[in-house]
């Protein structure tokens, strides 16, 4: 068998894979049907959803500018800030939030599905609060345990509701988890100047060094003095600063509470213990974020898109894309007949490859991104048109169709290359310097242009060769 038939089989397999991957419903329905009829167990095709941007599915996007004028280590301050805000957004119950540091001092918070911009801003707006808490006295702990017992009793009783629990005095202890056993001291993040990871000189184990300012040093000395051999818990926004029970999330069940060994004066303390480098680093980072005097203030830019507006935009652009596609296919078939038809098949494969890539990478699809993709769809045919026009020219010179096809492809290449590379060049520049709207557009423009070059040059040309065979076509009018 000739090489071109292998390529043809390759194209069919590729078309099947990308087509099914971008829209697996038909395949999966078919599989369900077969499975039920023949009691087989064929698995479903991988069903990965598209990731839609805020402008298409609705949500709130906020941009903050942090005041870093008093901070020395800017990047660690920003990543600390990001961690804290990410946790707050997660507590808010937002699905798939994106919290990103942008540039040096910007923080972008994207919350899909959120509609109340006011509430979102209030929740994010507070500066993270770091507090050092000491263990409650024995009577207090007994009291807490007693309350917790009462709550548990009601919970296990049948037919009880949240109302019954709320009747118990101080029932909120049940929500506080570990922090119910601690009470805040006067010491908080305001007094901490720096936390860093150091290594023990003999054991090389990581330790966390805390430095307090002079006021903080006095408070710290007093607190450690009255809490010798007792735990001193560190909370950030009311939660433990790290995951201590190993379930990979920080919740009320966690409490990070090193034991005080001795009264510490001079404002410098070291937390020792068996911890990994990573744990030590993340503790130090969060201590720093709580200690941050970083203010973020009100957002410098905000955007809220209601869910209806988003879905309308998406639907409209898809309809526009569909009619555009029909338009080009008609144009190609009318002007270029059979080659135009083959190019239309290639353009449909091109769409499926693109959609698959968007799912696979994954690309967050925005309105701008869809525009970039649809525009490239029009541009992708340029390469075909250039090749077909060349073939016409070669035919005019009296060459046979087989030779004309080969020469036409070769001669058209420099124009195709230059044409696509200039578009890609501008796309890359847009991506590097642009804002988020521009980036979304530029990214899909560049990807789709590359794919377009591939489908026009490889797929269309092989389809032409295979349909043509090695002999002159019978109905030449169909081919020119």
């Amino acid at each position: 068998m000739q090489q071109k038939y292998y390529v043809f089989i390759g194209i069919i397999i590729l078309a099947f894979l990308v087509g099914t991957f971008s829209y697996p419903n038909y395949f999966n329905n078919g599989v369900d049907y077969l499975n039920s009829k023949l009691s087989l167990n064929i698995p479903h095709f991988l069903d990965k959803p598209f990731i839609l941007g805020l402008d298409l599915k609705g949500g709130v996007s906020l941009t903050y500018q942090a005041d870093l004028s008093t901070v020395a280590d800017k990047s660690s301050a920003m990543s600390g800030l990001r961690d804290v805000i990410e946790r707050r957004v997660n507590m808010f119950g937002v699905s798939e939030p994106v919290v990103q540091v942008q540039g040096e001092d910007r923080l972008v918070v994207e919350m899909p599905g959120v509609t109340d911009i006011q509430q979102a801003i209030q929740m994010i707006g507070q500066t993270p609060y770091l507090e050092f808490s000491e263990q409650k006295s024995e009577e207090e702990i007994k009291y807490v345990e007693n309350v917790l017992k009462q709550v548990r009793d009601i919970q296990t009783k049948e037919g009880s509701t949240i109302k019954d629990i709320e009747k118990i005095k101080d029932w909120q202890f049940a929500l506080q988890g570990q922090s119910a056993f601690f009470k805040p001291t006067e010491l908080n993040g305001k007094y901490l100047t720096k936390a860093s990871v150091i290594f023990d000189q003999t054991t090389y184990k990581p330790q966390i060094q805390l430095k307090f300012n002079s006021e903080g040093a006095d408070i710290f000395a007093e607190i450690t003095g009255r809490n010798i051999e007792k735990p001193l818990a560190i909370f950030l926004d009311g939660f433990s600063i790290i995951d201590t029970n190993g379930d990979n999330k920080i919740d009320a069940q966690d409490a990070y509470a090193p034991i005080v060994q001795a009264k510490i004066t001079g404002g410098e303390a070291v937390i020792t213990g068996d911890m990994s480098n990573k744990t030590a680093t993340s503790i130090a980072l969060r201590l720093n974020s709580g200690a941050l005097p970083v203010k973020i203030g009100a957002p410098i830019s905000q955007e809220a898109v209601g869910p209806t507006l988003g879905s309308i935009s998406l639907k409209k652009s898809l309809i526009a894309g569909f009619y555009g596609l029909i338009g080009i296919i008609i144009f190609m078939i009318v002007f270029y007949r059979l080659p135009g038809f083959l190019a239309s098949i290639a353009i449909i494969i091109y769409i499926a490859i693109n959609l698959s890539l968007f799912k696979l990478i994954p690309v967050t699809l925005t309105l701008a991104g869809i525009a970039g993709f649809l525009l490239s769809m029009g541009m992708a045919l340029d390469a075909n048109i250039l090749i077909f026009s060349r073939i016409h020219e070669e035919l005019k010179l009296g060459k046979g169709y087989v030779v004309a096809l080969k020469d036409g492809q070769k001669r058209a290449w420099p124009s195709i290359r230059d044409g696509n590379l200039t578009t890609i060049l501008v796309g890359v520049i847009l991506f590097i310097f642009g804002t988020s709207f521009v980036k979304g557009f530029a990214f899909t423009l560049v990807i789709s242009n590359l794919i377009g070059m591939f489908t026009a040059i490889v797929i269309t040309n092989y389809l032409l060769k295979i349909f043509l065979g090695n002999k002159e076509p019978k109905w030449l009018w169909l081919w020119r």
């Binding site: 941009t63 500018q65 509609t115 911009i117 006011q118 009100a298 957002p299 410098i300 830019s301 905000q302 955007e303 809220a304 209601g306 209806t308 507006l309 309308i312 935009s313 409209k316 652009s317 526009a320 894309g321 009619y323 555009g324 596609l325 338009g327 080009i328 144009f331 190609m332 002007f335 309105l367 701008a368 525009a371 649809l374 525009l375 769809m377 029009g378 541009m379 340029d382 048109i385 250039l386 026009s389 020219e393 420099p414 124009s415 230059d418 044409g419 200039t422 578009t423 890609i424 060049l425 501008v426 796309g427 520049i429 847009l430 310097f433 804002t435 709207f437 521009v438 530029a442 423009l445």
Partner: protein, 297 residues
């Protein structure tokens, strides 16, 4: 087919100059109707159950300090309200005030602070400059082997001149529809302008490519004749490549949403201007430049 394109060079120059003059006049006289992304400010998009008259809305919000604001009806029930930057409180108050007229649903809200808008202006200028320089370099490198009778550098400069023409025409067009149809000149339009630069250069490249080939194949021919022949040989494909892209864009203008509508319209104007300028400006310029050089000798 051999259309004597270069016979009427003077007419093209005059016509192009008139077009350019209209564009420049519109830009400077009307100014650009800049969007919030450049000016800073807030945009509130709402939908009423029963949309009241603009004058009723005006009266309702007249108690707020909104700077220079515009009320623009959209579709059957929607209204877009553009104003200076407002805080959360004012935002909520406006909604509750408008609720008194007819139940209001908030569709979207956008607020751009002065820091961002100032930064965008700077970035846009850098973007345009970097793109033009990048393309100049690309053409020079791609056509470096062409030295006689025009060098790659000249081809590059001619391309940049025509690209500038394409961009100015599009900006001028937006100055006019900004004035009369309240179309905003924002980030999407800037993105479109840069895409125009990257795309319409293709037409020029196609003609130059053919010219390069013809120079090698028929070194003795008259230069003007070579350019004319190159245009004629590539005319059909220049038109059809642009046409395919236009089909998609026209579909976006007709069926697409508000943002993509103007974005696509900008691209359409730019691509049409680009096809025109490669035929009627780029090619005549090459010939004129060659003539000038011969005279100097």
């Amino acid at each position: 087919m051999n259309i004597p394109f270069l016979k009427f060079t003077k007419i093209y120059y005059i016509f192009s100059s008139i077009l350019l003059a209209i564009a420049l006049f519109s830009i400077f006289y009307f100014g650009l109707n800049l969007g919030v992304d450049f000016l800073g400010g807030s945009v509130l998009e709402i939908e009423f159950e029963n949309r009241p008259e603009n004058s009723v809305l005006q009266e309702k919000i007249s108690s707020f300090d909104l700077g220079e604001y515009t009320i623009q009806p959209v579709g059957e029930k929607g209204v877009v309200l553009k104003m200076k930057e407002i805080n959360l409180e004012v935002h909520q108050n406006i909604i509750s005030k408008l609720n008194e007229v007819s139940p209001v649903k908030e569709l979207g809200f956008e607020d751009v602070g002065p820091v961002i808008s100032r930064e965008l202006k700077g970035k846009t200028i850098v973007l345009v400059a970097v793109s033009l320089i990048g393309l100049l370099l690309y053409i020079m490198i791609s056509f470096r082997k062409v030295s006689r009778p025009v060098s790659g550098f000249v081809l590059g400069v001619v391309s940049i001149i025509t690209l500038t023409f394409d961009v100015l025409i599009t900006i001028g067009f937006f100055a006019i529809i900004g004035k009369f149809y309240n179309a905003q000149f924002g980030i999407p339009i800037v993105t479109a302008l840069l895409t125009i630069i990257g795309y319409t250069i293709n037409d020029k490249v196609i003609i130059f490519d053919r010219l390069r080939e013809n120079i090698i194949r028929r070194s003795s021919d008259d230069f003007k004749e070579l350019v004319n022949r190159s245009i004629n040989e590539t005319l059909l494909r220049s038109l059809s490549t642009g046409f395919c892209t236009l089909l998609v864009l026209i579909s976006l203008v007709i069926f697409g949403g508000e943002t993509l509508k103007y974005f696509s319209l900008a691209l359409i104007v730019g691509i049409v201007a680009g096809t025109y300028s490669s035929l009627f400006i780029a090619s005549p310029l090459l010939v004129s430049w060659q003539k000038l050089r011969l005279k100097k000798r």
